[in-house]
């Protein structure tokens, strides 16, 4: 019975995952292109980009995260209610990208746990959509107890 409940919950979560409006730099323009009519993201239920993190479940970190912006990113991540997922879009969010210097975080996974990394500088809209679909597949594998707030229900998480 729990498996159908899992499947139903995951079906609901993937079909209408709302991203928080979080475009930082150049990748944000490609994210907006993915949103626009040529490569349409609303066929996945995502045409609604919520400005407030409290009403969204997906954070697509699109662009380079500088050291001044890092506490802001973390605070936004903390403000999102569980279940929440993070896609690191682009090279700068995945690993620092072209910029290996004092001002840029070498990958946003230094501050938030990332589920999917999408490579590219900037990634084409099709690449981003592939990343989103891969995230949907990942979410389909989850169970209800993964996001439960009762500690004894959670499975021990494997260290990433």
């Amino acid at each position: 019975m729990t498996t159908t409940l899992d499947a139903a919950a995951n079906w609901g979560r993937t079909r209408a995952m709302w991203p928080v409006l979080f475009g930082l730099a150049c990748c944000a323009i490609e994210m907006m292109s993915t949103q626009a009519s040529h490569y349409d993201m609303s066929r996945f239920g995502m045409e609604l980009m919520r400005a407030s993190p409290r009403q969204s479940d997906l954070m697509i970190v699109a662009g380079r995260v500088s050291r001044k912006m890092a506490p802001v990113v973390r605070r936004l991540y903390d403000q999102m209610p569980a279940p929440k997922w993070v896609i690191a879009m682009g090279d700068c969010a995945s690993c620092g990208g072209v910029f290996n210097n004092y001002a840029i975080l070498q990958g946003v996974d230094e501050i938030v746990p990332v589920d999917i990394y999408v490579a590219g500088c900037p990634p084409r809209p099709e690449q981003l959509m592939h990343g989103i679909l891969m995230l949907h597949e990942k979410v389909q594998q989850e169970t209800l107890t993964d996001w439960s707030t009762w500690p004894f229900l959670r499975k021990p998480e494997a260290a990433e």
Binding site: G96, N100, N101, Y102, A103, D109, E110, I111, V112, P113
Partner: protein, 173 residues
């Protein structure tokens, strides 16, 4: 459109002891002045009939470490009425990188001067708002100086994967 060389000679006639040298390179004329006289020369450029440099195109600082004098601040001035361009340059020593602020003359020098302070540590006296602009307000050091490190992180290949992974911060959930 007045010739930049003529403009440079006018400045040199008016301020003979302030102008250190006049350099011409690839068609651009640079007038090097002493830091103490910068404000007078700038005001002269702004007000004089025939010069009227009412637009400051650029304010850039350069670090020549380890040569002395260490810093240089360039002001690229442009005239909207006469369409000529000239560059004023001041050299500042390492021990005392202080120069007068030109925000009284061109108000748009506000943020470029803050950036020069933030990145190089050059003080501008008389600036209305001397705070850091690009780095966080509690950052120490001036990043674009030549003795400030680039801040590289070692590139993570498969042979040094674990070593780099151990040094990177990782969040708990």
């Amino acid at each position: 459109m007045a010739d930049p060389q003529a403009v440079a000679s006018t400045i040199k006639e008016k301020f003979p002891e302030a102008v250190v040298e006049i350099v011409e390179f690839r068609g651009e004329v640079t007038v090097v002045v002493t830091p103490e006289s910068l404000l007078d020369v700038a005001r002269f450029c702004y007000e004089t009939e025939g010069l009227e440099f009412n637009h400051m195109a650029d304010l850039a600082a350069v670090d020549y470490w380890p040569e002395e004098p260490r810093f240089a601040v360039n002001y690229v001035l442009r005239s909207m009425t006469h369409r000529h361009l000239i560059r004023l340059k001041v050299y500042l020593p390492d021990a005392k990188p202080v120069v007068d602020s030109v925000t009284g003359i061109w108000a748009g020098a506000n943020w470029p001067e803050r950036e020069a302070w933030d990145m190089f540590g050059i003080k501008f006296e008389g600036h209305p708002n001397p705070r850091r602009i690009l780095m966080p307000f509690d950052w120490t050091g001036h990043p674009q100086r030549k003795d400030y490190p680039q801040g590289y992180e070692e590139v993570q290949f498969s042979f040094n994967y674990d070593r780099v992974q151990a040094k990177k911060p990782h969040p708990e959930e």
